[in-house]
């Protein structure tokens, strides 16, 4: 898998082929998603009240979205009361500037980072790099991706597209370790030695957040390695970026999410490292805490009645692991830090309708519905995909352009017209039956023109029979 950093974002269908042809990627991903899928099914299957939990999760999130203005102010108040500082960021540039300034004020040139997709969303590492600040990823998989100059391809397992021998080669090169095997324990040990030194010297830690509790001001990062714990406890200053949709109202709500999240994401009954902090505590942990509240398009998602459920997402990645499209193309085809089904609905909403790559994502699904079935907060992803397709078409109609497929709206309009009149519909059936004669060879259609040729690339088509059902019905009565 080559780095995707240099690739110009293109429509999903244009780049998918490159990834589909990558045999190593297909094998790595197929193996990884199958394994985690089976594990998830087991730990979810043992929960008698799973459906009730999902419904609770959905309702808590729905309540948050309906009252987000109030919860945000409550969270700000709680964080300040606990000794933290709250910053409001309208967009990525805003957030990056705030964070860079905080780091520069301390005179630091390196920070340690907890795995965070939100900071990837805003391109924090690159922004800091321009200010002469190195942001070191400390999650093992994020570190691998960063060392390779690559981009994450999965929400939870950013290096899912790499196997251990690829990682061994990378560590040999970047860490200068000659005799490194591809045994997971040895690889982890190499990373551990490298990172431990960094942790002990870091003055500033940067994190995202899984949740923030409005009533207490508590910010939460759940992780599996303990490296997040290092970042959030050892440095003197901690800066956390929180997408505003990550709020939960009360501490009690963890009862629901701490059951839903680990079983859906890592397929574990309980998450190994659960980091909770509330402002600052004298003599214990960071003495300065900054919380950056990030909008970056979220309020416009909230304004869309159907689309807003997308904000319920708790980033478990269960939808990626069951998605037949993601399993085959991998995450890079989505040209977003949010790949898979959730990315296909979140990215286009965050980026707006004029981003060509993002606008293609709602079509990167066969609408099979496997994602909705596993979503722990019951986001109806297929329904939102259909909604966004319709929204996109309306937008294009308003703007008066249809890039690439200008023929489509004409055909759709004509077909809808024919379906409204029986005579026209029956005539169209007859015309198609005659028209197909151009393409029928030896009783089968194996080659079709224009866009339909992608059908016959791999599939034959049975010709339209001599008698339609309705013609047969007429002969009966």
């Amino acid at each position: 898998m080559s780095s995707s950093k240099t690739a110009v974002p293109q429509a999903f269908e244009k780049t998918a082929r490159t990834y589909l042809d990558d045999a190593q990627l297909r094998r790595n991903l197929g193996h990884a998603t199958r394994t985690i899928r089976n594990k998830r099914n087991n730990v979810v299957g043992e929960m008698p009240d799973w459906e009730e939990l999902r419904e609770s999760g959905r309702q808590i999130k729905q309540n948050v979205m309906m009252n987000l203005d109030r919860y945000l102010l409550q969270l700000e108040e709680s964080v300040i009361k606990a000794g933290g500082v709250v910053h409001w960021a309208h967009d990525a540039a805003d957030a990056n500037r705030i964070i860079a300034n905080l780091i520069k004020e301390k005179g630091e040139s390196e920070v340690v980072k907890v795995k965070s997709i939100t900071t990837d969303e805003i391109g924090l590492n690159d922004a800091l790099d321009k200010e002469g600040i190195h942001a070191l990823e400390t999650d093992l998989a994020e570190l691998i991706v960063q060392m390779a100059g690559d981009e994450p391809s999965h929400i939870l397992v950013p290096a899912i597209h790499k196997n251990r021998s690829e990682i061994r080669d990378l560590f040999r090169e970047k860490l200068g370790i000659e005799n490194l095997s591809d045994k997971p324990a040895e690889l982890a040990d190499a990373a551990r030695r490298y990172l431990r030194k960094k942790f002990l010297h870091a003055k500033i830690g940067v994190s995202g957040a899984n949740f923030a509790v409005a009533e207490t001001g508590t910010v939460v990062v759940v992780e599996s390695e303990g490296n997040g714990r290092m970042c959030t406890t050892l440095p003197q200053t901690l800066i956390s970026v929180l997408g505003i949709e990550k709020i939960i109202p009360t501490w009690q709500d963890f009862e629901v999410f701490m059951q839903l999240l680990p079983r859906s994401s890592t397929a574990e009954r309980m998450n190994p490292y659960n980091n909770f902090w509330t402002g600052t505590t004298a003599g214990d942990g960071p003495q300065e805490f900054h919380l950056v509240l990030l909008d970056n398009g979220r309020t416009s998602v909230l304004a869309d009645e159907t689309g807003r459920d997308t904000l319920h997402c708790i980033r478990c990645s269960a939808c990626l692991n069951v998605c037949p499209v993601y399993e085959r193309t991998g995450g890079h085809a989505y040209h977003s830090v949010y790949p898979g089904p959730i990315g296909a609905i979140l990215t286009p909403q965050l980026r707006g309708p004029d981003d060509v790559a993002a606008a293609s994502l709602p079509y990167a699904s066969s609408l099979c519905g496997a994602c909705y079935e596993v979503c722990p907060v019951k986001i109806n992803i297929p329904e939102i995909l259909v909604h966004l397709r319709n929204k996109g078409v309306r937008h294009k109609k308003r703007r008066g352009f249809f890039s690439g497929v200008r023929i489509e709206p004409v055909i759709m309009k004509m077909a809808a017209h024919a379906f409204r009149r029986r005579a026209l519909y029956e005539m169209a059936q007859k015309v198609a039956r005659i028209g197909q004669r151009l393409y029928v060879r030896k009783g089968i259609i194996s080659k079709l023109p224009f866009q339909l040729s992608s059908w016959t690339e791999m599939r034959d088509l049975k010709p339209i029979p001599e008698q339609t059902f309705r013609e047969w019905w007429r002969t009966r009565s």
Partner: protein, 242 residues
């Protein structure tokens, strides 16, 4: 029972045998079947591709045609799923309160064929005979939108002479997805390849399902590969007699 058949434009034009089989089957079970000639398309392709506005007249049409029916039965899970899940939304989009009301009243009387037989009529043995090795592919919209569960399988298990074999990874999508197969042809083909391998591994001579659209997709590849496996809608299996 008086049953109105909604054949779906797709079956009407490309798979008339499925319609004929559905009629024969329902009549054999002692019901009266009626086929309202005005029917055309439910609008699924438009809906799923982004052209909802164009099909609001189709919703009105459908309701006009079938509102007096005792039961509407369709041998197409995805069309029934479309009607059940999206007609209420499209009615709201139309702003026509009368239409919303009429859609709500019609919906409980619309059934996919296997659901109708198993849940509504309580029939699992339709007296069919089909001496072939068959594997069943549960289509996505039937499984996850309509929740038809194992209704088609219950019916198939009671067919005499059938050698019904389980399909590995049965609930994985075949990659059809309507315009997905054209817009994302490469990914669709990758999915289809795996489905075909699974079907061939069963050694079945027939692959069946509740949707001819998915079967057209699967069958298209089976035929291209000269696999010797054919696709048949389950209604056609149930209609077969000794």
């Amino acid at each position: 029972m008086n049953i109105s058949l909604f054949i779906a434009c797709f079956n009407d034009t490309l798979f008339p045998d499925t319609g004929k089989a559905t009629v024969r089957l329902l009549e054999r079970l002692g019901h009266r079947v009626d086929f309202p000639m005005e029917q055309t398309c439910c609008g699924q392709i438009h809906n799923n591709t982004g052209y909802q506005e164009e099909i609001i007249p189709l919703v009105k049409r459908f309701v006009d045609i079938f509102s007096d029916s005792e039961a509407v039965v369709a041998p197409s899970a995805s069309c029934v799923a479309m009607i059940r899940d999206y007609y209420p939304k499209l009615a709201i989009l139309s702003g026509d309160t009368d239409l919303m009301d009429r859609v709500d009243r019609l919906l409980p009387r619309i059934y996919e064929l296997s659901q109708f037989l198993v849940s509504k009529l309580g029939v699992e043995d339709v007296g069919a005979y089909y001496p072939h090795r068959v594997t069943y592919h549960p289509t996505c919209h039937g499984t996850r939108m309509l929740h038809i569960g194992d209704a088609p399988l219950r019916l198939l298990r009671n067919v005499r002479g059938i050698d019904l074999v389980a399909l590995p990874g049965a609930e994985e999508c075949c990659g059809f997805g309507g315009t997905f197969a054209l817009k994302n042809a490469d990914t669709s083909m990758a999915m289809l390849t795996d489905k075909i391998s699974a079907i061939k591994a069963t050694g079945a001579e027939v692959c069946t399902a509740a949707d001819n659209s998915c079967l057209m997709h699967i069958g298209g590849a089976l035929n291209r590969q000269r696999s010797g496996v054919k696709v048949v809608h389950f209604a056609e299996i149930l209609a077969c007699m000794d």
